[in-house]
């Protein structure tokens, strides 16, 4: 069915508890990350001493403002030797693509058991005002004075243009928020478990009009680690392997620094920037959007889910609004269940890792909101500055 037989698989996922912003303290961010790594090893049936590779994204960022250090992980967890330690550049756009980096290490023979980890702890710096807090530099001096103080503020400008060009309505963004909240209601670890209505959405405080509070992802703390190894080795481990069908990261020059630049041509401006990556991803996988059974779409801001649905070909460019409003993305009754875990809008935000976790559970057949018969899951990284990324996971037969 797919273009080539998968060669690597995800074999373990570990997660900490999820917390509202700042509430994970007094546990440190390295403690959260270490706990997730140990949990992922335990789940896989591996010893932490088996880890010989680290494949990060977001420049090995430990949330925002601090960095992971592989040597410190080795020292604190007792990992004897590492033969690969690398990261994708930029930010959360690389979340899904980090599994491709792990795959590259394994296929190249650089490492055998590769961990990808992300943790977020917002005790000091809130993500929501990260740009306002950063020191001025010659490039951001062309953006920062405008008062666009966080990522959602920047993406509200893209959203406005999408609404203008295609007639997209706020009702579509509401449907994304409402449907994902619906998916979180039965999840013990979800931060938000009260249903929301269209009325709640339209009564929510405007933050960066056209985006309101319910369009913004949660500000939470937690850590998730994922272990990737060769499919051969995976077969001997504790969990049913989840094959990596394809992974891709990158982006076009027209997207580039995206909303840190705002110079994108019109069609790219009102997009998620994923179009070129989606093309590579499907080609590598040998499948198309019609083959995807469940989509775990990076949802830092609800309109960017809609624009990714367009860029990944689930509907035509500009038709994301009607597609979403038709109920197509609902877990119950939708043609393409989206963010069955509640996503970053309702479950927990760990910079894309919850989407990989849910993709793995869907392909194992163990998801809380399991999509019956699902055989291919799409996982995406955040629409953000280059790179953006995508991942297709399959079911081990």
């Amino acid at each position: 069915m797919t273009a080539t037989a998968p060669d690597v698989a995800i074999v373990g996922v570990g997660a900490t508890d999820y917390y509202r912003r700042g509430q994970s303290w007094p546990r440190t961010i390295n403690e959260l990350a270490g706990e997730a790594i140990l949990a992922a090893c335990e789940e896989a049936g591996l010893s932490v001493k088996d880890i010989d590779g680290f494949a990060y994204y977001s420049e090995a960022g430990a949330g925002y403002g601090s960095k992971f250090d592989t040597g410190l992980f080795m020292e604190t967890l007792g990992i004897p030797e590492v033969t690969f330690t690398a990261t994708l550049t930029s930010g959360g756009g690389g979340a899904a693509g980090s599994i491709g980096l792990a795959r590259a290490a394994i296929l190249n023979g650089d490492a055998n058991v590769v961990v990808t980890v992300m943790a977020l702890q917002q005790a000091q710096q809130r993500l929501g005002s990260v740009f306002a807090a950063s020191a001025p530099n010659p490039i951001n001096s062309f953006l920062q004075p405008s008062g666009l103080s966080g990522p959602g503020h920047l993406m509200s400008v893209l959203t406005r243009r999408h609404m203008h060009d295609y007639g997209t309505r706020r009702e579509a963004f509401a449907e994304i928020a409402i449907s994902q909240r619906q998916n979180a209601l039965n999840r013990p670890k979800a931060i938000m478990r009260d249903p929301i209505t269209l009325e709640d959405y339209f009564n929510a405080r405007m933050i960066a009009d056209p985006l309101c509070l319910l369009d913004f992802c949660l500000e939470t703390d937690g850590a998730i680690a994922v272990i990737t190894t060769s499919l051969d080795r995976a077969k001997d481990l504790k969990q049913k392997p989840v094959p990596v069908v394809a992974a891709a990261h990158g982006g076009s020059r027209e997207w580039g620094r995206a909303f840190s630049w705002f110079g994108m041509p019109q069609e790219t401006f009102a997009s998620s920037g994923h179009a070129s990556v989606a093309k590579h991803l499907y080609r590598r996988a040998g499948v198309g959007p019609e083959d995807i059974d469940v989509a775990l779409i990076y949802d830092h801001f609800s309109p960017m889910v809609l624009m990714q649905l367009e860029d990944y070909g689930f509907c035509k460019k500009g038709e994301g609004g009607p597609f979403v409003e038709s109920g197509a993305i609902r877990y119950k009754g939708g043609s393409l269940p989206v963010n069955t875990h509640g996503g970053q809008l309702s479950e927990c935000y760990i910079i894309g890792m919850t989407h990989i976790k849910e993709g793995v559970e869907q392909m194992r057949g163990t998801a809380i909101n399991q999509v019956d018969g699902a055989e291919l899951a799409l996982v995406t990284g955040g629409p953000a500055a280059m790179p953006v990324s995508g991942l297709i996971l399959g079911k081990h037969l």
Binding site: P136, P138, L158, H164
Partner: protein, 144 residues
Amino acid sequence: MSAGLTQALPGEQVRITTDPHTEPFWEAAKEGRLVALACGDCGTFRMPPTPFCPNCQSKAKNWVELSGRATVFSFSIVHGFPGIKDIVLAAAVLDLEGAPGARLVSDIVDVDPDDVHIGMEVEAFFSPISDGWKLPLFRPVTTG
């Protein structure tokens, strides 16, 4: 000023830094002139100013003085800023007249937020910020 009109961040809170490629923009702003960088060889505009022309890779620079008029390509009405809870900003991405392909991100001030729209014509003025620099801000073009 009516409480409902858009503002800009207080100038004393706005800081910029420059490098050799960006400094001419800010030096011109200090003198009340809006300029944009064009390639000295092929004429392609680029903003923010960077070392190479992305079209022909030339390092030759031509700083072009503009009319100061611009058109709103997109915008956001921002409610609040860290430390300034009640401020309302009309943060806009602007197409600059006379510099096709070059955009500037700035604020449209002294306007009812409901009046801001894509395609709106605005014009620059220059407002003091920290360290003696001036920031280009925009107001609607006054007709008649």
